[in-house]
Symmetry: C2
Subunit: 408 residues, 2 copies
């Protein structure tokens, strides 16, 4: 037979969604030499001791080493129902799907709702991995700004009404993180949450509420999750133990109406989330280690946050921040002449790992931001890291012109 | 504002790929009362003792409870390279991506190659979960029959040439399981493997070689994996410890050229495969427990297979089987008047769980088959289960007419 294709290098006929870029934040490890202020890692010093729970799980090998049930272990689903009850959410086992982290839940939601080109509403900025997952789903973005009360529901309403009036396809989904938003740290007001549910009903979209940071609260009183305002199944809740216990466990959940859950489960291609990890987590919920870790971590991270804010005020003049009442991150607005990507590169040379805010926008941002995580490093490391960042920043300021007047 | 959409039940605007069917085999658990001859579970009596390895992993919490590296732990990637070397495959760490089981690898391959409507070549029958994953990717199927030497490469060549001559889009991928194929148990000949690689180069497609059962061999000599015949990166190897160690660990791997691997990694939405499980598995590879489990399991499953074959000969007259030299499954051809789905339902009432062969075809099969797993149940349970199945079968035979002449 004559050769149709005889070159030694194969011709890759990629799907459109395939791309060769790995977001640098994702491949950063916690073991590098630089001061780590980039990734949302858990604080290493207080990672839970799970030795006895893991041993017990290993001993239940007839359960934990076989394929697990598709929706997750019943006892874990029940523990998640209990956990959510404390947040003011009424749900039941049949609404809970155990997944491999909240990102996996978002991915499954995309699979059951999003066709290439479908519009999805996100905050600007929003969670960088959500942007990546939505881009992998070939979603189009409707980016809505935020203020201190969260995503701006009046701008959202206007955008939706304009799309409707123009006969444009209406968004199917909205993705947001209402509590200690990644990257901004904003906690959405109760009025905005209520309004989002009304808009979802009115304009016929579903809300994906990703709420990993809710329990990492330093001050102030919580308002109910968006899901608590939802009587019609318009909200798909995502949760995870990554930020309240340990990211390495790779356990998250979806809390949604059964018609959604069944379709998401049908798209799971992992042979069921690991029953060994699920059994370990059931024990950690039962013996109070989850609550204990949340309390310890919240106390410590408040101090981390304060240390970082003090250091920023000292070493990053001309920047502005909003003090978050919880979560893992500070969102730093840079003066207009400072390019965030370049600052991140220079900071790395000074020995500190940070994250360019550009990664947190689904569409190109007009301003320049950094996301700084105070979760992983100690207060001493944070102070040192911000000082290093300050050196890179000062060099750029002297290089790229005088500070703007708002610096004073 | 006037209500555009005020009904209490939301209007779900599903993606086309979303479906509300969960394959029953997937939700079967190992804990039900019936004799389990349906699912490909590991044999419970010899599940490995991983207590000390899990304890050690829990103690390395700075590694195992944080986010892991995107491609997997280097030491696990190296252990996989060593494991593959024993199969005759030369590879290196940079070609290995750790995933959450082989199914996850197939899913990622679909994401980077398959657009809705793209053609994928599969054997008929083939692995039922691969069918599901490919359907979720909205692939079109090119189903090719098998004989005792594996997928029929001459029929495949004819089909491909006809597509080419007709100007039809050519398939991007071929999925197959060359060793102790699920469900047929067939081991592909070396000549067919070589031929598949030639066809892949000639007709410009990639081969996904899923090889979970290769080491579960009862007799005969292995031939090299398809990947060993590949000098140009045309083969994407999938592996897993589900069948050689424990399905509950949810660890698999992809062995492929870096351009493919990078794109697959970019589609991973799990926050990295669980580093706790990876570290546990590194230890199990190092201390020889993987090899030990393979040896023990292979010895036992040979006996299981023989018991099942004897019982089928006694209790299922008129059926035909091919004796597999390894793997987990027997593929039973039923007389034409016996509908497999109905037999599975009736067998369940008799207290034995089996799987209809219909689920193992990407397109509608012309004949009627059962897939029986001898991996999970003991020889005594297998004999009992086949006797129960035989009762349902005998009732159907008397109900749906005389046995065909080939019964004699």
């Amino acid at each position: 037979m004559s050769r149709i294709n005889d070159q030694m290098t194969p011709s890759y006929r990629w799907a459109k969604r395939a791309h060769d870029t790995v977001v640098s934040a994702v491949i950063a490890t916690a073991h590098g030499k630089p001061v780590e202020l980039g990734g949302g890692y858990d604080f290493p010093d207080t990672l839970p001791d799970i030795v006895s729970e893991a041993m017990a799980a290993a001993q239940s090998k007839h359960e934990t080493l076989q394929y697990g049930p598709l929706y997750g272990l019943d006892e874990l689903r029940d523990a998640i129902v209990d956990y959510l009850r404390d947040d003011g959410i009424t749900t039941a086992r049949e609404n809970i799907l155990v997944v491999n982290g909240a990102k996996h839940g978002l991915d499954l939601a995309c699979r059951v709702f999003v066709e290439p080109g479908d519009a999805v509403i996100v905050a600007a900025p929003t969670y960088l991995n959500a942007v990546q997952i939505l881009k992998n789903a070939e979603a189009h973005f409707v980016s809505i700004p935020q203020d201190d009360a969260g995503i701006d529901t009046e701008i959202l309403r206007q955008r939706l009404q304009a799309r409707h009036d123009a006969g444009e396809p209406m968004p199917k989904l909205l993705f947001d993180m209402p509590d200690f938003h990644n990257p901004t740290g904003i906690a959405m007001s109760a009025a905005r949450r209520q309004r989002l549910v009304e808009l979802a009903m009115y304009y016929d979209f579903f809300i994906i509420e990703d709420d990993p940071y809710r329990r990492i609260r330093f001050e102030g009183e919580p308002v109910p999750p968006i899901k608590a305002f939802d009587n019609t199944g318009r909200v798909i809740g995502l949760g995870t133990v990554s930020k309240i216990l340990a990211p390495g466990l790779r356990i998250g959940w979806v809390n949604a109406a059964p018609p959604i859950l069944r379709r998401m489960a049908s798209q799971k291609s992992d042979g069921g989330t690991c029953p060994f990890l699920q059994r370990t987590l059931v024990q950690l919920f039962r013996n109070g280690k989850v609550d204990q870790h949340i309390a310890t971590l919240s106390t410590l991270l408040r101090l981390h946050r304060d240390t970082m804010i003090d250091a920023i005020r000292e070493h990053l003049p001309g920047t502005s921040i909003r003090t978050p009442n919880g979560g893992y991150f500070l969102w730093v607005r840079l003066p207009p002449q400072i390019d965030a990507d370049e600052l991140v590169r220079r900071a790395a040379k000074e020995g500190v790992s940070t994250l360019s805010g550009r990664l947190c926008f689904a569409e190109e941002p007009s301003d320049s931001f950094l996301r700084l995580a105070y979760s992983f490093s100690t207060p001493g490391q944070i102070a040192d890291g911000i000082e290093r960042l300050g050196r890179a920043y000062a060099a750029m300021r002297s290089e790229f012109g005088p500070p703007p007047h708002r610096d004073l």
